[in-house]
């Protein structure tokens, strides 16, 4: 492919040079063959291009030249074949070209022997071609100067477009990567190379290169352009490094590095010796590299440490405090530095762990990248300020930084040493007894875990049905209810006896008297004075009858007196009771003298009389 491409570039120029001859040859209506080389002078180790031209009608039955014997040359490539058909003034001509790359076996004046071609049953022979081969290193390179001026792609080509008869520039752009399979975040070095056989005057990117899906860092090229002479398929080429980038894939999967377009100003080979001598025929060509596809592997999930920072590469960690002794509330500076090969752009800060007795502030972050042998080296520094809150021997616990090492395909964790810090009491406390006290804070729960095991010092309990689920529990619930029913029944039976009946009557005497007095109160009107006083008198008499188990109807005032005296009611109360009864009798038979106030007074005296007797009996 590459070989064919190179041949195709030269071919039009050769054919153009041969046109007058072809025209006459075609007119002769017979087959003509001719051999030609792209240069007559060359250096040992280089290749020469041999072009065999066959022209004439009916070339479909023409075989390739016999290249078994090439004399002092060895076939190193080819053939690339091209055909051409023309119709001029009613006459058709066709031509076929075979292009070979030949390597001289020695230096000196060498001859490419005549080659036999079988066409339409006849054998034709090409003309032998002479080539002068110089010993190696005596031919100058095609570059005007290894150090190129800065490229100016916008400048028009000094000599305009391609001229008739000019040879096309033999150059191409390649994108090279140092590896095709990488992990996310691992460096891939992209090198864009120009291969040329033409003299380069200037070059520059045709468009600003972009790398979607990558974090790109430019690798600065040395001021002096790197030009390397290489042999590609046996031909001498010059290799110029145009651009280098350190690329870090940001996502997994098949990622493609897009083509890079470059504009190159080359010295054109001119067929016109006059032009070649007096001018510098140049040409501006744009070439584009092929895209490169990378296989980007995701970081393995297995073995990922909990505090993984996301960094990929190889790193070291150092933690340093700016002092080892401090006071409460005096800030201590902590510098956490991670450095190494790889990209730390998005690396998470290594946590300081649980600093219970310190107050911490967000760190100040500084980062720096350098390139060593095309590898990106990063350094990131987190400057923390921590303030001790409690005096004594405090410790900054070890800091961990976990990263993925793509070389060993494993996660690694680098750990710093614990830093002891001796914290003295603050100024105010050391000053005297009138101190402000230590800064207080809530006790922080660092982590949660389950409570620990339980012991069973008193032995283990066997599986059993709880008491409240047994029938005994129900029985126990029913027992007091049944007992109360029994008590109630017994009490009822007891109440039915004459003794009980008497005592019940006695017990209820006051309540009965109160009911009767209430009835009398309803009659308390001048119109019903008689029934009112009768009711009051009845209430008093019945009360005594109930209380002393006597028939109320047969109770006279004297009998009542005697009964009250019998039960030890004091004289004054007895007299009050008696007065009350008499007042009622008097009012009953002389109703004209009674008014509302007298009735109210009679009712109050009756209540008082009963209460007085009741109090006397209770004593």
């Amino acid at each position: 492919m590459r070989r064919y491409g190179a041949g195709a570039v030269l071919l039009p120029a050769v054919l153009f040079a041969l046109l007058p001859w072809l025209a006459t040859g075609a007119a002769a209506d017979e087959i003509r063959v001719r051999a030609q080389v792209d240069r007559s002078e060359m250096s040992e180790g280089e290749d020469v291009r041999l072009i065999v031209e066959i022209a004439g009608p009916g070339l479909d039955r023409v075989g390739p030249p016999d290249v078994h014997d090439l004399g002092d040359f060895t076939l190193s490539g080819g053939p690339s074949v091209s055909s051409r058909f023309q119709w001029i003034n009613g006459v058709s001509t066709s031509s076929k070209t075979y292009t070979y790359a030949l390597t001289p076996n020695r230096s000196g004046n060498l001859t490419i022997p005549a080659l036999a071609i079988l066409a339409q049953g006849r054998t034709y022979r090409t003309n032998p071609v002479e080539v002068e081969v110089h010993p190696q290193g005596t031919v100058r390179t095609p570059f005007a100067s290894p150090s190129q001026s800065p490229p100016q792609p916008s400048n028009p080509p000094p000599a305009g477009g391609r001229r008739a008869g000019a040879a096309p520039a033999a150059l191409r752009i390649r994108s090279e990567v140092d590896r095709r399979e990488v992990y996310v975040g691992q460096q891939v070095t992209l090198k864009v190379v120009l291969d040329t056989q033409s003299e380069i005057l200037s070059h520059g990117p045709a468009e600003s290169p972009s790398f979607p899906g990558f974090w790109a860092e430019e690798i600065t090229l040395p001021e002096r352009t790197e030009v390397r002479r290489v042999s590609i398929d046996g031909e001498p080429w010059y290799e110029i490094t145009l651009m280098k980038r350190a690329l870090f894939p940001t996502t997994a999967g098949a990622l493609s590095i897009p083509p890079v377009a470059w504009q190159v100003q080359v010295r054109r080979r001119s067929a016109d010796p006059f032009e070649s001598f007096f001018f510098t025929p140049t040409e501006m060509v744009t070439r584009r590299s092929d895209p490169v596809t990378l296989k980007v592997l995701p970081l393995p999930a297995a073995g990922r440490p909990p505090g993984f920072s996301g960094a990929v590469g190889s790193f070291t960690l150092s933690v340093a405090a700016d002092r080892t002794e401090s006071r409460v509330n005096d800030a201590v500076g902590l510098k956490v530095r991670v450095a190494g090969e790889g990209n730390l752009g998005s690396a998470a800060p290594p946590g300081l762990g649980d600093l219970v007795d310190f107050k911490t502030f967000d760190p100040k972050i500084t980062s720096n990248t350098t390139l060593q042998a095309d590898r990106l080296r990063s350094e990131k520094v987190w400057d923390y300020v921590v303030i001790p809150l409690a005096p004594g021997s405090q410790t900054i616990p070890p800091v961990n930084f976990a990263y993925f090492d793509p070389e060993t395909r494993a996660y690694r964790t680098v750990t710093s040493k614990a830093l002891p810090i001796q914290v003295a009491r603050g100024e105010a406390i050391a000053g005297g007894p009138s101190v402000a006290g230590l800064p207080q804070s809530d006790i922080r729960l660092l982590r949660r875990d389950i409570h620990y095991l339980k012991a069973a010092p008193g032995g283990l309990q066997a599986r059993s049905v709880p008491f409240h689920r047994t029938p005994w529990f129900v029985a126990l619930c029913l027992a007091p209810m049944l007992a109360d029913v029994g008590i109630l029944a017994w009490a009822r039976t007891r109440d039915l006896s004459p003794q009980a009946s008497r005592s019940r009557r006695e017990r209820r005497a006051r309540a009965a008297a109160r009911r009767r007095l209430a009835h009398a109160r309803r009659l308390m009107k001048p119109a019903s004075a008689h029934p009112f006083y009768a009711s009051v008198a009845q209430a008093l008499t019945d009360y005594v009858g109930d209380k002393f188990h006597a028939a109320g109807a047969g109770l006279t005032h004297e009998r009542i007196e005697a009964l009250l005296a019998e039960r030890g009611v004091p004289d004054d109360r007895r007299a009050a009771f008696h007065r009350c009864l008499e007042a009622c009798d008097f009012a009953r038979f002389a109703p004209s003298s009674s008014d509302d106030a007298a009735m109210r007074s009679a009712l109050a005296s009756a209540e008082e009389a009963i209460a007085g007797v009741e109090r006397s009996l209770d004593r």
């Binding site: 949660r448 875990d449 389950i450 409570h451 620990y452 095991l453 339980k454 012991a455 069973a456 032995g459 283990l460 309990q461 066997a462 599986r463 059993s464 709880p466 008491f467 409240h468 689920r469 529990f473 126990l476 619930c477 007091p480 209810m481 007992a483 109360d484 008590i487 109630l488 009490a491 009822r492 005592s503 017990r507 309540a511």
Partner: protein, 256 residues
């Protein structure tokens, strides 16, 4: 050589047999201590096996369930751990540590279950009742029940109306206290007999009916707590606190 080997083999076999018998008849307390030692050494698998064999031996102690749950938790088996914490709390509702651990384990589950929010007094009452051991409730109920009925028993035999009234009021008040204890006890007993199950499989599809052919309504994961309603063949109807319900294979849930 062969003559010497046979008796040796017999001795070894007898020794192994004796060892097996000793292991089988080991007292639960010894096994409990050994399980604790294994747990301390970080051999959670061994500890879990020992606690399981204690329970299989007829012991039903809240502390064994608790310790077994801890061992499961450390092994990362959240479903069995939650089941055992629930069983521990059923035996001893006053165990705050088990309650804490259960809450922690539930926090690690795949399914987040939001229970209906209760009013403050209702929540406090519920938590109080649930935290009291059923033995205490049963004892309190019995004491107040006896005293209330005893007081009521004095009423018919008391002559004074004032005393009768006082005794009557006292009996009613004591009876109310006894009934409060009784209601709390009944609530606990109802909770205990309610079919609560824990999902044991990694994930279970809950279907609209008992059978693989029914529509999958939703999916639950290990450790989710569900109410078990009734079973049809190898399928159980379940419902979640948020009101969702469906059918799951009976083997995928374990009754507390």
């Amino acid at each position: 050589m062969r003559r010497g080997a046979i008796p040796l083999l017999l001795v070894l076999l007898a020794g192994a047999g004796a060892g097996a018998i000793a292991a089988a008849t080991e007292p639960p307390q010894v096994l409990f201590d050994r399980a604790g030692a294994a747990y301390r050494e970080g051999k959670f698998d061994e500890a879990a096996k020992a606690y399981e064999s204690i329970l299989a031996d007829g012991v039903d102690d809240a502390r064994v369930h608790y310790n077994l749950a801890n061992a499961y938790f450390k092994l990362g088996r959240l479903g069995p751990a939650i089941l055992e914490y629930e069983r521990c709390l059923r035996l001893d509702p006053s165990d705050d540590e088990a309650r804490d651990n259960l809450a922690l384990a539930r926090g690690l589950l795949r399914d987040k279950m939001s229970e209906p929010e209760l009013q403050y007094p209702v929540r406090v009452l519920k938590e109080t009742i649930e935290s009291l051991p059923s033995g205490v409730l049963a004892g309190g109920f019995l004491v107040f029940w006896f005293v209330a009925w005893g007081t009521a028993g004095f009423v018919p035999v008391t002559a004074s109306w004032v005393r009768r009234r006082l005794l009557g009021y006292g009996a009613c008040a004591l009876g109310l206290v006894a009934l409060t204890f009784g209601a709390a006890l009944l609530y606990q007993m109802r909770q205990e007999s309610a079919g609560i199950g824990i999902v044991m499989a990694d994930r279970v599809d809950v279907r609209s009916g008992p059978g693989e052919g029914n529509t999958v309504l939703f999916t639950v994961h290990e450790g989710t707590r569900m109410e078990l309603r009734h079973s049809v063949e190898a399928w159980t109807q379940v419902s979640l606190p948020n009101g969702l319900s469906g059918w799951v294979p009976a083997r995928s849930v374990e009754r507390v």
